[in-house]
Amino acid sequence: MNGLVEVVNAGIANSLQDLGRIGFRHMGIAVSGCLDPWLARCANALVGNDADCACIEIRAAGPSLAVLSGPLRFALAGEATATRVSAEGDETEVLPWQSVTLDAGDELQVGFQPGGTAYLAVSGGFATLLQLGSRSTYLRAEIGSAISFGLQIPCDVASGPERAAAPWSAGSGLVRVMLGPQDDHFTPAALEDFLAGEYRVTPQSDRMGLRLEGKALVHRSPAAADIVSDGVTPGVIQVPANGQPIILLADCQTVGGYPKIATVISADLPRLAQLRPGEAIRFAAVDAAQAAAARAELAARWQAWVGDLG
């Protein structure tokens, strides 16, 4: 760890994330981690990192980082762009999907991310304090480092060549779900509405969950709108008494008391990271075999993307 950056502008809604904090959910600790781990993997691959290196997840106004000790290699994955400002004040644009090398004294100013999610990786990863096996930020429990003005983060100096790649996309189309665990708490008509209807993402959405708006999903009875709390996981679609679904995401709680009509399959979960308020989604029900095929297809696509990495 002979590289060092300093946060000179925290931006808005940025967080340090890796592949998540596994093994602590029985203590009520959210798994956290990147909303779109494949996109973070792309950013890491562009700077020559392993997949488990921590990135900065950018959800609104990106941060500005000063290179205190370099040279450092950076890469953006997603739609975010940045400006490189040299010690002499020269500005050059930094595009996503290619890595760049910055020297000590340079500054990287990441721009505005209009909804959706992008990732910034640095050579060696942002090596903040590892807590409970992860660097993912979970501010609710004061776990992980908040990106704040003056925070200095160790990383590695650049090694190997700069790289470029075609943009990665997690895919599009219907969001595939497996019904359950509490699909039997809904009327048959509600299940039909859920699979036929269009649901719009509301602005009351964050890393904990996507609140959707559409045709209200009717529970079998008023009593069926509550359950004695049981386990939840990112991707479950819980439906409170008002009938409007909420898809839980990486920072979600570990147990919940609303019935869950369905769960987004793991292959399609990263796509939810790219939804913006006002966007509409539709769902399709699949079975376990189709979910497994979707995982295999995603893994194969990833292998092809890495193989093409220039």
């Binding site: 596994i22 093994g23 602590f24 959910r25 029985h26 203590m27 009520g28 600790i29 959210a30 798994v31 807590q131 409970l132 609710r140 429990a141 004061e142 776990i143 779900v177 497996m178 019904l179 359950g180 665990p181 509490q182 699909d183 039997d184 359950i227 004695v228 709390s229 049981d230 386990g231 939840v232 996981t233 991707g235 479950v236 709680q253 570990t254 147990v255 869950k260 769960t263 987004v264 399959i265 793991s266 376990a288 979910a291 497994a292 995982r295 893994a299």
Partner: protein, 256 residues
């Protein structure tokens, strides 16, 4: 939906997509159901100890079910589901002898904003409510909602009241609270609708403690000990400095 029923020992296997199963023993809060949850938890831990069920990454007990999170790249989810059902049917009911704690609580008015109201509604004196709170042995069913938040059963029926109709925007950290037949402690300041009857000076969660960040665990038993304001202030300050060892609150060791 993939669900399997057993006639002799009703167990439902419910999918949470392709990365978790919930094994459900029933739909209510019931010590008998919870004992079966712990029985399965023990059986699964034993199996994992033998190197089986290698895809499992997280195991979350609740009042009435066990949620088993797995990595589908590390093992077949369908096979894991069958194994869980078999384990659930062969495992007995286990009343886990968790640790026993005696945890200090201050019941002063400003730390217990709902105490007088609850006492008046239930036709009890303040002192009688405190006496019932401190003579009850609460059992931790599960940790959830937020890191280290213990859902504890055992609240005497004379103290049962529903949640507040309008939840507070900010419940102070370490508030001891009740709702329905449950008791809990808010580890962090957060919104919440439970009724606040006191406050403990002891932190419920410390991320710096890598082996056991949450003070309490499912199966633990908790007695409250009333302390006055002076002791509360002194303990709170000492706890902030990290000078109160958790062990000093342990009445009896046990399996966490």
């Amino acid at each position: 939906m993939t669900s399997e029923m057993s006639q002799e020992k009703a167990v439902r296997l419910l999918p949470l997509g392709d990365t978790a199963w919930t094994v459900e023993f029933g739909d209510r809060i019931d010590p008998a159901l919870h004992a079966r949850v712990i029985g399965l938890l023990d059986a699964l831990e034993t199996a994992r100890g033998r190197g089986e069920c290698g895809a499992v990454v997280d195991v979350v007990p609740t009042y009435r079910s066990l949620t088993v999170h797995y990595d589908p790249q590390r093992g077949d989810g369908e096979a894991l589901g069958r194994t869980l059902v078999a384990l659930a049917q062969s495992a007995g009911a286990v009343r886990r002898e968790g640790r026993r704690w005696c945890i200090p609580v201050c019941f002063d008015d400003d730390l217990a904003p709902d105490l007088n109201d609850l006492a008046a509604t239930k036709g009890l004196t303040r002192a009688a409510v405190i006496e019932k709170m401190t003579s009850t042995c609460f059992e931790v069913y599960m940790i959830g909602f937020m890191p280290g938040f213990p859902y504890m059963g055992g609240l005497p029926a004379e103290l049962e009241m529903p949640r507040l109709a309008s939840p507070r925007k900010a419940v102070p950290a370490r508030s001891v609270a009740v709702a329905g037949s449950m008791c809990a402690v808010y580890p962090w300041e957060s919104p919440g609708g439970w009724r606040l009857l006191g406050r403990t000076p002891m932190p419920m969660f410390s991320a710096a403690d890598e082996t056991a960040p949450a003070l309490l665990a499912s199966g633990d038993r908790v007695m409250w000990r009333a302390i006055d304001r002076a002791e509360f202030d002194a303990m709170e300050a000492a706890a902030q400095r990290g000078e109160i060892a958790r062990d000093s609150l342990l009445v009896q060791e046990g399996r966490p």
